[in-house]
């Protein structure tokens, strides 16, 4: 990153765009604690979260979707989702002596699977799903992970046009229910349709910021990144 500084507005969808290698995923890795910062600060809800571990960041309410699918391949779809919902699964003694009651969590999972139209895959192993299905389940898992801030790295990559519309609807509903979303997406039509504001990144720097309309008409952005992609 190179003197990169920006704010993400609460209860809004902000998109981060830029050419490959601009540093978009690096920003996500910094926010989610995967890469340690050499300099600078990351402030979340007024709290400095610089040099915080990924699990602590998740527990603060930041949920992340990776660019590459990272489902637990040897677990079922339901088990993958339960891991996101259940916050007490690492309490060893509680787990050893309690009877497994997951009814409320299971209800949440059923609702989410219905939302992404994958109810019938509940007991299927994650490794047996197609790429698009994996992507949907991973998005569902990210949403189920308790959060107030979602960071989504290419949420609709490899997803059919019909489901893209569905995901756009889901993201807009999440925004209505007080979530803040920062997303990276190469599909400009999708990005422009869901975002409230857009940040354009190039070589680790924010070169432009504004509403979708402003970005669409910015000659600087058109030259650096968009080209003719949204003109049609």
């Amino acid at each position: 990153m190179n003197g990169c500084s920006f704010n993400v507005k609460k209860n809004a969808i902000t998109a981060l765009i830029g050419p490959n290698g601009a540093g978009k995923s690096t920003i996500f890795n910094l926010i989610s604690g995967i890469i340690k910062e050499d300099a600078g600060k990351i402030i979340f809800n007024g709290k400095d979260i610089t040099h915080t571990s990924p699990e602590q960041i998740s527990n603060l309410g930041i949920s992340r979707l990776f660019q590459q699918t990272r489902l637990f391949g040897n677990l079922t779809v339901k088990e993958n989702l339960l891991l996101a919902v259940n916050n007490e699964d690492t309490r060893f003694w509680k787990n050893l002596f309690s009877i497994n009651k997951t009814t409320r969590e299971e209800e949440k999972i059923k609702e989410m699977l219905k939302l992404v139209e994958m109810e019938e895959f509940e007991n299927k192993l994650a490794r047996e799903l197609s790429f698009g299905q994996k992507r949907l389940i991973e998005l569902a898992r990210t949403i189920l992970n308790p959060h107030s801030f979602l960071i989504l790295d290419e949420p609709v990559a490899g997803i059919s046009p019909k489901l893209r519309k569905k995901i756009a609807g889901i993201l807009l509903n999440l925004k209505k229910s007080d979530a803040t979303i920062l997303l990276i997406e190469h599909d400009m039509n999708f990005t422009l349709s869901v975002s409230d504001s857009i940040l354009v990144l190039e070589k680790g720097e924010v070169i432009a910021r504004g509403t979708p309309e402003e970005i669409r008409n910015s000659p600087k952005v058109l030259e650096a990144y968009l080209g003719g992609q949204t003109k049609s």
Partner: protein, 282 residues
Amino acid sequence: MLILLGIYFILAISLQLAVGFAGLLNLGHIAFYAIGAYASALLALAGWPWWLCFLLAGVVAMIFGFLLSLPTNKLKGDYLALATLGFSFVVYVVALNWKGLTNGSLGLPGIPKPIFFGFIFSDNFNFLLLTFFVAFISYFIIRKITSSPFGKALEATRDDELATRILGKSTFKIKSIALMLSAFFAGLAGSLYAHYITFIDPSSFTLTQLIPIITIIIIGGLASLKGTIIATIILVLLPESLSFVGFPSSIVGPARQIIYSLILLWILIYKPRGFYGKVELE
């Protein structure tokens, strides 16, 4: 032979917990077995009651499991295997050279048979019942752990550690608990072995002792307790059938290793998930 089958079973399911469920390729498992055996033997020879020696064998091994988890927590795969293998050698060398404590290569003779509330497990049948009881309880506890949400967190850590952390789970804690539990049950198995044979020396805890245990969990299938039961029975009893056929003991010993190797090769080539494994060997 059936007593050894029970002891091997405890060793195998406890290793299965670390390797199959948590994805920790721990080649130092036999060191926990040794620590449990020595702890129990030394305490029993000092006059402590058997049941306390037995439990403390597990606890002492568990403490060493925790200590081993501290430097190895960030290691994965081959690197973790090498580090834990190193731990196994360190324990062996300590057992061999700390003569004041372990009596070195002369070993510790005269370890008393278990006495529990006045009942002496002196004959083989009673000891067999005791071993099977411990094996059953170990199996029950490990099955409860692995089928609980904690077990799923273990498997998640095995499949993708970073993704598990991103879901807010401390994989340091998860992996440490897995290694400690695995060591605890191996320590109990060590205690049973020490009180059964009544003599232990460092040669009882070399790397060659680990080979059948690793073979059992690979053949049974990673992350499968059912597979572990079946593979333990096959691997412990199959070489013994050679004795019944009439082969001399000078052949049965080496033949056992050859049989293990052949079965392992066959599984690796034709059935990389073992009998009932959920996870494919990489």
